[in-house]
């Protein structure tokens, strides 16, 4: 049976007409009618203002929207501002909207965008998030310029956020990725990035696209691939943070992200096992120094059920955690109950042991990840309660010491990693 090609005839037609480009911006969409026009406008303004002499193209990879998103992209020139920008550009402006085959998911969209980038020999590629209405031409340019002018292979965005925001990133994913890969990447889950043609070719050769990882965890995988390969990576200040309206409930979200992270770490083990400590990534555009508000919640409700959850899950946690860790946790839960103080070192030990259990496959992997969720909530609640009224600098310092704790305990992780039977 012939496989559905990533490259549909329609897309091929468009690419033939476009020819070679210098800058390609890809925007995956699925029902983004609310925000897509602003995104397209920002892209064209970025092209006109910052890359007036470059051959450019905007590619919208659509997963089958039923709210007219593709038409909005194609007809964006109806906007007056748009016409002005377009008419003053030196070159023909190209804009393609094309559907992709397969299950709607960012992985398939990204694959199509990357294929197009490879075929058009785009020197610099930027992938944007269509869910966001706050994108600016400057932000887009800052993702493209390091690749185009300074030969970087991968550009990750950095957002101006309050350190209490996004605990899944700050408590778990960021320090874990930092300690493992040895690079101080701030936003490993960023839905937008810039990259070079070399990186695109490399990604297309990997066998991730048809897997579960390709379906739900592509953002993190891309970051992992960039850090683990011999690619020059940097970060750039993009403002403001894309406040996505996440429609996924917590359980599903946690499962997707954590299993992606663990799977990535497993994939790249040969790379990060030899690395110690962590290096910072160059910041090519500084962040604007605006102040951000602390989030409203103090997370006190998160730890209410911790002791109970721990008790309920004892038999599941036994094969996963070490005796010491489990005992410490149980004792902590008994003594402190809903006012638990989940220390850094205990949390790091928890995470690493879960990672090891995941790698060994002591039970079905989804179950391992699900079992981590209540512990994560306990840790988050504990952290938020402790720092909810602290000044920003103090919270930053706390997060920094958490990262260092991850780095400090990494040798233990490595030691046990090697010993696991395979």
């Amino acid at each position: 049976m012939a496989q559905d090609s990533v490259l549909s005839d329609e897309l091929l037609h468009h690419l033939m007409a476009v020819g070679h480009v210098d800058v390609l911006v890809g925007v995956p969409t699925l029902n983004n009618a609310g925000t897509i026009r602003l995104v397209v406008k920002a892209v064209h303004q970025a092209f006109a203002r910052y890359f007036p002499r470059d051959r450019t193209v905007l590619i919208n990879s659509d997963g089958g929207s039923n709210d007219g998103t593709p038409n909005l992209v194609r007809n964006a020139s109806a906007d007056d501002t748009e016409t002005l920008t377009v008419s003053h550009s030196l070159r023909t402006v190209h804009r393609i909207s094309t559907p992709y085959h397969g299950v709607p998911g960012k992985g398939n969209a990204l694959r199509q965008i990357m294929t197009a980038a490879e075929l058009t020999q785009a020197r610099a590629v930027a992938v944007l998030n269509a869910d966001v209405s706050s994108i600016t031409p400057e932000g887009i340019a800052s993702l493209v310029r390091p690749v185009r002018d300074q030969q970087y292979d991968y550009v990750a965005p950095v957002y101006r956020r309050h350190p209490l925001e996004g605990p899944l990133v700050t408590q778990l994913i960021r320090p874990l990725m930092r300690a493992a890969y040895g690079w101080q990447i701030r936003e490993p889950l960023a839905p937008e990035f810039g990259c070079s043609n070399r990186f695109v070719t490399h990604c297309l050769e990997q066998d991730v696209w048809d897997s579960e990882l390709g379906r739900v965890g592509i953002d993190l995988w891309v970051t992992g691939e960039a850090l683990a390969g011999s690619f020059r990576c940097c970060q750039t200040g993009v403002s403001p943070h894309p406040a996505t309206s996440s429609r996924t409930p917590f359980g599903e979200l946690f499962g997707q992200i954590v299993s992606t992270a663990f799977a990535c770490l497993e994939r790249h083990a040969t790379y990060w096992i030899g690395r110690n400590g962590s290096e910072s990534l160059p910041l090519t555009t500084p962040l604007p120094s605006s102040s951000v508000e602390a989030p409203a919640t103090d997370g006190s409700r998160l730890t209410e059920a911790f002791a109970r959850d721990l008790q309920n899950l004892q038999s599941v946690l036994e094969p996963i955690l070490s005796q010491d860790t489990l005992t410490s946790l149980t004792r902590l839960a008994e003594k402190q109950g809903s006012h638990i103080r989940y220390h850094d070192d205990l949390w790091v030990a928890t995470v690493y042991e879960f990672l090891l259990a995941y790698q060994r496959g002591v039970m079905r992997r989804e179950h391992i990840v699900q079992a981590l969720a209540p512990l994560y909530l306990g840790r988050t609640g504990s952290f938020l309660r402790q720092y909810s009224s602290a000044p920003e600098a103090e919270v930053d310092e706390a997060l920094e010491s958490l990262s260092r704790e991850f780095e400090r305990l990494k040798p233990d992780l490595i030691q046990h990693w090697h010993r696991s039977p395979r």
Binding site: G166, S246, A305
Partner: protein, 233 residues
């Protein structure tokens, strides 16, 4: 008269010796079969253990929760156990074949029924093992889902699920082995029915609130759990 008795005794002795002479080779054959069978069974056991190692049965046993159970029951690890079962079955087969050679009519049907029994036994064991694995899986999945969904008494719920599955598959296995069919059938029906009734009563009378909460969790727009209050990304 004495001559007749002596002749009879001589005749009986001769008959006895004749029968013995006829019988002895059979005994030797039987012994030979039993010994060869033992050797073959040992060989097959080693092969099975090797195969189990290659298929990583031990790891699978760990994953599906079978291995802890074996350890609790003081049984050898999964591959050894498998080897042992295969060894005994093979050897038993040879044993019965050997006995069959002896020609005891009362034992004639034994071999046939043995060979008829073995497949059913294997199938029954397989059903039980599969059922066990499924029960374990369902137990853990239910437990984690219930905990993360803030459903009260998650252990009770998951335990109930596990036992339900175990009882069901146990009954199926026993029926397959065809041991005490009617007894098993009746006992199962009673137990299953009682359990279901109990759960229904508990749910209906005392569990209205829980049902409501579980249903509400299915439609998250109506109610956010505390975890959904903050933005995690």
């Amino acid at each position: 008269m004495a001559q007749m008795i002596a002749n009879a005794i001589r005749q009986a002795g001769t008959n006895f010796v004749e029968s013995l002479a006829l019988f002895l080779p059979r005994v030797v054959t039987t012994l030979a079969i039993i010994i060869v069978g033992w050797l073959i069974a040992m060989l097959i056991r080693t092969l099975v253990r090797g195969l189990a190692g290659w298929l990583r049965i031990n790891v699978a046993a760990e994953r599906f929760g079978v291995a802890p159970l074996l350890r609790t029951a003081d049984l050898p690890p999964a591959d050894a156990l498998l080897g042992a079962i295969v060894f005994w079955l093979v050897w038993l087969g040879f044993l019965l074949s050997g006995i069959d050679v002896l020609g005891f009519t009362s034992l004639q049907g034994l071999l046939a029924s043995f060979w008829a029994f073995v497949p059913r036994l294997v199938l029954g064991l397989a059903i039980f093992v599969i059922g066990f694995v499924v029960a374990n899986f369902a137990w853990r999945a239910t437990l984690l889902a219930a905990v993360n969904a803030r459903v009260p008494s998650p252990r009770l719920l998951s335990g109930a699920v596990r036992w339900l599955v175990l009882i069901l598959t146990g009954a199926m296995a026993l029926e397959q082995i065809a041991v005490a069919r009617s007894v098993v059938l009746t006992a199962f029906a009673i137990a299953f029915g009682a359990l279901s009734l109990a759960v229904a009563i508990a749910f209906g009378i005392g569990g209205g609130g829980i049902a409501k909460r579980i249903l509400e969790h299915q439609f998250p727009e109506q109610q956010q759990s505390s975890a959904d209050e903050i933005s995690h990304l």
